[in-house]
């Protein structure tokens, strides 16, 4: 497996609280992605990064922000968690365009 670590792996939080998910890679890959996986919707892109401090929005970015201050770390923040953000979140990395993307093990987030 590529060196991608997501933390935490599981989290339960209350509505309205801020939450930060971390993706750490040891592969020195340029591109990093955050997806959420929900039944019937597949994997939906939240935000992505094409370099340090270079990020852009995906399909479902409302309510989420990201930061990438180092090549190896990509943080996803839910500013004020809502029940609709209960999901499994996956981080992925990619070395170059049009090459294999490697996924982390996922973070299961429950907002109650």
């Amino acid at each position: 497996d590529a060196g991608i670590t997501q933390s935490p792996r599981h989290k339960v939080t209350e509505t309205g609280t801020p939450v930060t998910l971390r993706c750490h890679q040891t592969e020195n890959h340029r591109y990093m992605y955050w997806y959420r996986q929900d039944p019937g919707h597949g994997l939906r892109l939240i935000h992505y990064s094409y370099g340090v401090k270079d990020t852009d929005k995906g399909e479902v970015s409302d309510g989420y922000s990201v930061s990438r201050s180092k090549t190896e770390d990509f943080l996803l923040t839910l500013e004020s968690a809502t029940s609709s953000q209960t999901s499994v979140y996956f981080c992925a990395t990619q070395d170059r365009a049009n090459t294999e993307a490697f996924f982390g093990q996922g973070t299961r987030l429950t907002v109650v």
């Binding site: 996956f90 365009a97 996922g106």
Partner: protein, 112 residues
């Protein structure tokens, strides 16, 4: 809006049969089309990928057929095995914008 449409949502195939999953896209700027396989509790992993200048790519029992004019591509799994039971995602990558987007997924069950 779903940029890559995938069907069927679920599929049951007998052992030894052929599994076929279809995807369609609208954006002709996509230039890389991978398929990912996901087992329960795991992140997706690359299965096979194709570029639009090729009409077919085969790796073992897995074949991608690509129809550029119809903007469709499909995954064929020959001699399907129970170990192939998983969720399959088609995806498309848009170089220049560095966005990797996924279909909604197909849950495949291969019966013994």
């Amino acid at each position: 809006q779903q940029q890559v449409k995938q069907s069927p949502q679920s599929l049951i195939v007998q052992k030894g049969g052929i599994s076929i999953i279809n995807c369609a896209y609208e954006n002709t700027a996509f230039d890389y089309f991978p398929w990912y396989q996901q087992f329960p509790g795991k992140g997706p992993a690359l299965l096979i990928a194709i570029r639009p200048d090729v009409s077919e790519k085969k790796e073992g029992r897995f074949t991608i057929s690509f129809n550029k004019s119809a903007k469709q591509f499909s995954l064929h799994i020959m001699d399907s095995q129970p170990g192939d039971s998983a969720t399959y995602f088609c995806a498309a990558f848009r170089g220049g914008f560095q966005k990797l987007v996924f279909g909604t997924g197909t849950r495949l069950l291969v019966s013994p």
